[in-house]
Symmetry: D2
């Protein structure tokens, strides 16, 4: 399938480019960015910041403006929230499926906020969208929400959840590029990330909600979040305390995490990790630098599962903020949508039509 | 007064040496360390790690073994816990007041665990100690406990406390030297510090307890702690959530912190900061690197005071782990003991006796 | 004397504000910045990044536009080079002495490039300037030049210099704020700083030149520079190799550095350090984080003086890039100009005139 | 072939274990370490520090003492130099080929100091060794030497070299584990590494020497080295200036580096990188964190090739200190020795003998 990337030159866009190189299903055929970049080759337009080399096949593509008119099957959006609202709507109205990492439509009642292993049935919301076209929008959660909710899902199913306290230590790459000034973070912690704590309060409830009759019945429990930036490159580490609906031991929690059956188990999605959740017994682990890459950045790591003196259980959760928490999560969303029939190759359709 | 330092060559010992240079009351006359160092000059024996230069007056003193027999008025102990138990007892039995930073006797029922602004009356416990001499032991709390309890004390007095959740991001200097390997912490967070969480559960209750009839009636509320090491040089930052015994607003908390009357206010102790607690309104502050030095490292900083969705109020607390949380705290303890009459110059006594 | 600061809200401007607090001679009465900041209080206009608190006396001053019209005795300029050229000229034409940290006029033949301990006689150039007013411009060198030339000066005088190789490891604060992205420098070295190497080739020759008959006869030797950015907050460390005009031993070099008579020795300038150059014998020193603050950031540190297998002698040099290498150096320049009679209080003049 | 690893639990030993997982020719069958570790499983004995998981096949092997008696075809040595001298000799005397990363025998006249792309013919020295057995020792150079000499080799061949100045910025992993204290290096540079500069003076001359009649005729030019430790995890970056035997332009240097024919080109060695040397045109590159992994850590990167004002050409060189500069280099050495017939499977021999 041919795909476009909106916001292709930014930090998230670059991650899309990197992760989609050699993707077995998706072929990046269109790169869109601001009018300042449009008309240049990608190589000229992007200040490439990744450690991986820029894919040869991408380097010389000409960057386009972010307006509909591409001949591709769907678009990924790595747009900044300041422009995503309008642009994504324009693409949806023009008939494109938009698989977005931006925050703008996450809490929209007809837009799925999607983690394939957690709430694959929420894609049914797509049918409720009405952009006057075949287009639609699907979003993935904020990078600090993803790891938390992946770890909570098996526990929510098994025991019910009544309250969640979370303190995050978030990586620099979560702020984009140039993002955090080195003068602010070197040898320091910045105990504030604008807007972040609100997302952690809202998004988990939609993600753990139930789809019913064209709407999401949200889960209902309080989340209290405190968000910090630390001098780590990739990987959000979170200290979590959970109150359950029933009496639960650390071993119960480990058991639930280890035996959770991922709904993707037999789907063969290329970006789905072999192991959805990795549970650590070594109390020093998981650590961002050492374990962020598990499952090519798509595995969520949980460790230090032990009783909490106030709520019931506390533990730490680690996830890769730019892979599982952004571009990688969006790509997995697209793969699920293919399997569910929401994404189809126009070429294929045309071929079929032509038959 | 003439003072000795036990464990003088270690990281805490060096901090004692630095902070006591030019102290108006205390004059370092004896330096004790392991037998490996004994007999050398301090300059030779200590691998000096501080940014400040080694005081000239100390550099050429001869290091002694850690056994009683010094002619000084009292000793500070910066000993490692592996040896502090026995050594401090030996000095107490030999008649020395021991002002200790080690953990060994902190929870001993007759030993004051002391923060002068918090529980100055606990020094009455000294009279309950019986080492067969005039000697005694007074301790200061663990470096992660100090900031938390300083911030809690005004709130405990004003509102009562029913529960405290705390997640720490602790500085490298808290682990001593060489301490944390650079290969473990560079670009990383280590989400585990051996023994640390237990101290945060126990020590606050003793510190906030009431002295009555020769014993401490401990406070009674659960503390849940999660401790992390981050790549910060000095300053433990803590994300705290508190449940109070009554309905409390963020403004109530600010008011209580700002109007707390330090019991040291008019004592003129040289190491007491002009401001015991600094409350920040800027939501980005306090930050370890920027604010750890307030009040020469003796002020405790509190910020981001806001409602908690689960308990009542959440906030962040910062304190200097090697000053307020270790050597500086022990020196302030000694200053209080002088004011209270527990520490006296033998020379003075002798002079008086001679009259 | 009343002074203004141009570029007062930027990183260099903030350093001027910090260092001038409590200055015995200079009183900051005017703060100028871009039109975006003009009209606001300094507190509102500046994103204060220093660890020190913003001086109370400054916080509520109203920021002005960067156009002449202040009633002050002279101005410091911490302007960005993109605007300094025009603005500094305007102030000089309007009759202000401009003590500048910007690079624009450093190599101008009539403008002194000044380090008071190195070339105080170069201020005679001031008389050659013709702005159609009493105004003039004096500059200090680039932050990477300063330490090097301070260390070279005693050696140049004693032995002559034929070649200098220098590799720098420069601090983050040298790039201003926000400056270097944390994503670029965390766990990394950036081996390129735009324009920096050229300054190290040119500026030392002017600084070590001789004033003669209204012009500087520049020194004449090649400098080869390689400049790197490292994850250090303050302090440029430089690995230097020097070829001398005569046979020189490491001890000769130490002797020359230690016995150099600073021309400021008896002037009583408030910002002059007690020791101009500190020579270290411990081969691990100087180190940026540990020694950058010597002499309140105005002492230059030299260590590891040893034979070079190719040129004659190699060593390391450390200086504080935002104090000695920027604002502190400019303030010391102003102090010298006061002593030399180039800067005078208008008030004093007026008083004298009125007598 | 079955291989043993001496010093298997240390930092270098762990890197051998990681790199040899899935090696097509070599199978790790024996792990040796100190008597403290002997008898334990590898999992118990090693404080595993790598980001990669410990290979399953290794985790439960029993660690042996470092004395001959293994039934394997050869051994890699990641021993510390304090014990490598004696232990490696014992294994050589017992008939084992010892492929060593330790420094002890590097400058021994009959021991090859080997970089396969640079001096493959030096293995002829093996025949000159006389340990009273079939055993022998082959070494790889110090981690700071490797990158430099790889970059110099094509230039030495093409133009001759008369002098080399090098300033290194070396990664933390070069010091082993726990190695550098975080309190020494966080926000700092340590401008001294014990013994390192001497190795950079000596080893390049042997590596670039010519094998002739049972001995190495060393190259002859002065090297001046200044070595620094920086807060980088992996990758030694070096600022180099070179004086050639003839007039050379930057383009000549690029040409020589790009057209150098690696002697391994057609050998099919599994660890040889597709590209021996990568030349960068972007003046910001190479950077340790971004480019250290090129060619799986075996490619050497060169950038910023430009004229030097004092010698002829300056440039920067980056190489992976624990892969190309240690375990990976040793493995490539072993692969070359297989191709050259110096290493043979005993099993194969036995099979052949049995036929």
């Amino acid at each position: 399938m041919n795909v476009g990337i909106l916001g292709a030159t930014g930090a998230v866009g670059q991650k899309f480019v990197t992760l989609l190189e050699n993707h077995p299903w998706f072929n990046v055929t269109h790169l869109a960015a601001s009018s300042r970049s449009a008309g240049k080759t990608y190589k000229e337009a992007a200040n490439w910041i990744a450690a991986e080399s820029m894919p040869e096949s991408i380097a010389n593509q000409i960057v386009k403006e972010t307006v509909p008119g591409f001949d591709c099957d769907f678009v990924f959006s790595g747009l900044d929230s300041s422009v995503a609202g309008e642009a994504e709507e324009a693409f949806a109205r023009a008939g494109y499926p938009v698989i977005s990492n931006a925050k703008n439509y996450r809490m929209h009642p007809q837009v799925p906020l999607l983690i394939p292993e957690v709430n694959p049935s929420h894609t049914a919301l797509i049918k409720e969208q009405s952009w006057g076209s075949d287009g639609y929008i699907v979003t993935n959660p904020n990078c600090s929400t993803v790891g938390l909710v992946c770890a909570l899902k098996p526990l929510y199913d098994a025991f019910g959840i009544e309250a969640v306290q979370v303190v995050t230590m978030q990586a620099l790459s979560g702020a984009g590029y140039p993002g955090v000034s080195s003068l602010d973070i070197t040898g320091n912690v910045v105990p504030f990330i604008k807007g972040e704590e609100d997302k952690l309060v809202e998004e988990p409830l939609k993600l753990l909600g139930a789809y019913e009759a064209g709407a999401i019945e949200e889960a209902s429990f309080p989340v209290s979040a405190q968000c910090n930036r630390v001098a780590v490159l990739d990987g959000h580490l979170e200290c979590v305390s959970i109150k359950f609906g029933t009496r639960v031991s650390p071993d119960d929690v480990k058991e639930a995490l280890r035996t959770y059956e991922s709904p993707l188990a037999k789907m063969g999605l290329p970006s789905a990790p072999a192991q959805f959740i990795e549970v650590f017994e070594d109390e020093r682990y998981p650590q961002p630098r050492r374990h962020v890459g598990l499952g090519n950045g798509m595995t969520v790591s949980v460790g230090r599962i032990r009783p909490c003196e106030i709520l019931d259980i506390k533990c730490i959760v680690l996830s890769h903020n730019t892979v599982r928490g952004a571009a990688g999560g969006a790509i997995l969303n697209a793969e699920l949508l293919v399997k569910q029939g929401f994404l189809q190759s126009k070429t294929t359709e045309n071929l079929i039509a032509a038959t």
